[in-house]
């Protein structure tokens, strides 16, 4: 066991060399159990559940009943239960993959219960051959998998508010999730339909009650878009687009059309409601950013974060998520002194393009007030901005695409608060 005083500090506020744990096998002092309960004696050497046969098999496994609080929290429109959102509880999760039942949702008018035998995909417009595909046909096409995040363009929008919202990380930043999506490269079907020269945009439409539609530039469609059929190995859940979802890696969630039923090749965008009145960012000038598709680099410390409490001084592991819609995260820096000094966190391998990347950093907390921050840097050199920088550039009324550095204030009692700092 290493003495805390021996630990190599790499930045202010007690941040430690990120290789500390590997090198020295240091044990966290963040105690979930106290020493007394761990050492409590029992009459038997067997715990209760060791004294009888366990439960039988299950057709579909469920989380432990002790994990009932690890759920999506939902928020619906008072007049339309299917119009709203649910958040991924990032503050209760580790690693990089979102279980399917916890993937965030944004529905504009509910989850359609689609019979896959009656679902069709139509490709038409500026193509030589307008084509229809049913699901049986699509399932015969060559597929590929890609791990990628989907983030709602409106994620983290509470960050624009004048006062820092005091809520857990998942209900602030949890309209972002990460899955392995498996499906057909969109380019394969577009090639089969044979694009005409004037095809420059593609209008995608869903088979839900709101007939969600958006316009996508053709270059992106031909580059890395997928017609996904599977999510994390099983068929996509109804709330995430069953039986067919358009995956647009790195771009705002709204263009990842769920329940996809139609692709219209055109020479211009349709100017749909969700690319004009919504999902555009009003700037201080009164003009708005439009077609701001890419989700820029973002990071958030999930542990420790609001709602969690540091249990006495000692060594803690700072852990969080970083992602960028432009490619790989190349570096995440962490500060424990409000941004005066920064140290590089360890990135969990593999680091994949347009995918959640887990970062970790050991931290020796000695009971002082502190401000924790993380900032992501992606392979294009983009550095996640401080909040004030973002607001100076965009004002406070853009609503969408908030990706500023998140600051968690730590009190001397170890309580966490969301603060604005820089």
């Amino acid at each position: 066991m290493t003495k805390h005083s021996d630990l190599k500090k790499v930045a202010g506020g007690g941040l430690l060399d990120r290789r500390t744990f590997v090198k020295k096998g240091l044990v966290f002092s963040v105690a979930v159990f106290n020493a007394e309960s761990l050492n409590a004696t029992t009459e038997s050497s067997r715990s209760t559940w060791m004294e009888m046969p366990g439960e039988s098999f299950s057709n579909y496994g469920q989380p432990s009943e002790h994990e009932r609080e690890v759920i999506r929290w939902t928020m619906e429109n008072s007049m339309a239960a299917g119009n709203g959102v649910s958040w991924t509880p990032l503050h209760k999760m580790e690693g990089t993959i979102t279980p399917n039942g916890l993937h965030f949702e944004r529905h504009h008018n509910g989850v359609p219960q689609i019979d896959p035998k009656k679902h069709q995909l139509l490709i038409h417009g500026a193509v030589n051959h307008s084509l229809v595909f049913d699901m049986d046909a699509l399932l015969r096409y060559p597929m590929t998998s890609r791990l990628t995040f989907i983030e709602c363009g409106g994620n983290s929008n509470a960050g624009w508010r004048d006062k820092p919202i005091q809520t857990v990380a998942g209900y602030f930043h949890g309209m972002a999730s990460c899955s392995e999506w498996t499906g057909i490269p969109l380019s394969l079907l577009l090639n089969e339909a044979q694009l005409k020269g004037r095809a420059k945009w593609i209008i995608a439409e869903g088979a839900d009650a709101s007939m969600m539609n958006i316009s996508l530039p053709l270059e992106k469609a031909m580059d890395d878009c997928l017609l996904a059929i599977y999510q994390n190995g099983e068929r996509i859940r109804p709330e995430n687009g069953y039986p067919l979802r358009l995956i647009v890696p790195g771009w705002e969630g709204v263009v990842n059309i769920k329940w996809l039923r139609r692709l219209h090749l055109t020479n211009r965008p349709s100017m749909t409601r969700n690319e004009t009145a919504k999902y555009t960012e009003l700037l201080p000038s009164g003009k708005a950013r439009q077609f701001s598709f890419v989700m820029e680099a973002k990071s958030i410390i999930t542990h420790p974060s609001y709602g969690q409490k540091l249990d006495g001084s000692g060594v803690y592991q700072i852990s969080g998520l970083a992602w960028s819609g432009r490619g790989k995260i190349i570096k995440v820096e962490v500060s424990a002194d409000g941004g005066d000094t920064w140290a590089e966190a360890e990135l969990q391998e593999p680091v994949l393009s347009k995918c959640f990347t887990r970062f970790r950093m050991p931290w020796s907390w000695e009971g002082q007030a502190a401000i924790l921050k993380s900032r992501a840097i992606d392979e294009t050199g983009y550095i996640q901005p401080e909040r004030q920088t973002l607001i100076t550039e965009r004002g406070k009324h853009g609503y969408f695409h908030y990706n500023a550095i998140v600051s968690w204030g730590v009190s001397e009692q170890g309580e966490m608060a969301h603060v604005y700092h820089g």
Partner: protein
């Protein structure tokens, strides 16, 4: 002999000229790439030719130049009745907003704090309004409105925003108002403050750390305002209108209209997650 010489010269040439030496490698690469792209092209080609009937039936896309607008027409006069029947319960009197977005009656311009992103100020094309209404509205029975009704209710919303006259006819030829007027703003009517507009404010004090579930009767006219210190755990408000959340943290909940607190604690829908 001459062949031999030529071969030797060729060999020397190939050996000393680096570019040429790369040729076999390039050739191999080309073969591999060709195989690769050939492999990619092996698809079952199961697309069935789509009939014109299917395309016409499914393709409801409308463009800002009017392409895709159907036959039919309407005026704001006819549209007001349709609005009252299908839209008022969520979008409020004269489109001023309720459980759903405000559509008209802005109190603030786009450069004010806060701005009102109403149709007259923030929706750049009338065609977008028609397209969205046809696709998605009303939420409880989308697709119910005829083309004439859609033109009429669109005209009514444009009229509420001061963009067209009450008797202006909207149809597939007469829709292009955005270029001349949409961006210029409209004369704004002062609607009063929140308290002035809605008098039946109900307060419910909820202890910090608790979350809660509420129902409201009658269901329309639901607004929540948070005030005070501390906050409601997780800020979860079940069945509130996301559009009308006041950003401040809080323990006091004010609701317009009658409010019933169903539970204090974790909301029921989230509790039954097993």
């Amino acid at each position: 002999m001459s062949i031999m010489v030529n071969y030797c010269r060729l060999k020397r040439f190939l050996f000393f000229n680096k570019r040429i030496r790369l040729l076999p490698i390039l050739f191999l690469f080309t073969v591999i790439s060709a195989c690769h792209s050939t492999h990619e092209k092996i698809v079952p080609r199961l697309g069935i030719p789509a009939s014109q009937e299917l395309i016409q039936q499914w393709n409801t896309d409308v463009f800002s130049n009017g392409e895709g607008l159907p036959a039919g027409q309407g005026t704001a006069i006819a549209g007001e009745t349709i609005y009252q029947k299908y839209c008022l319960s969520c979008h409020g009197l004269d489109g001023t907003g309720d459980s759903a977005d405000e559509l008209a009656g802005a109190e603030h311009s786009l450069t004010d704090n806060p701005p009102d992103k109403i149709m007259g100020q923030y929706w750049p094309y009338a065609t977008t309004l028609f397209d969205f209404t046809r696709r998605a509205m009303p939420l409880n029975s989308p697709g119910i409105l005829s083309n004439n009704e859609l033109y009429a209710v669109t005209a009514y919303l444009l009229y509420l925003n001061g963009i067209i006259k009450q008797d202006s006819i909207m149809n597939a030829e007469n829709f292009d108002w955005q270029k001349s007027e949409f961006q210029q703003g409209v004369e704004l009517r002062h609607l009063g403050t929140f308290q002035e507009r809605y008098t039946s404010i109900v307060q419910w004090r909820i202890q910090a750390g608790a979350s809660f579930e509420v129902s409201v009767s009658p269901v329309r006219r639901l607004f929540f305002v948070y005030s005070g210190e501390g906050r409601v755990n997780g800020e979860m408000v079940h069945r509130h209108s996301a559009a009308n959340i006041n950003p401040a943290e809080a323990v006091v909940v004010e609701a317009v209209s009658e409010l019933t607190v169903l539970s204090i604690g974790l909301p029921a829908t989230n509790r039954s997650a097993s």
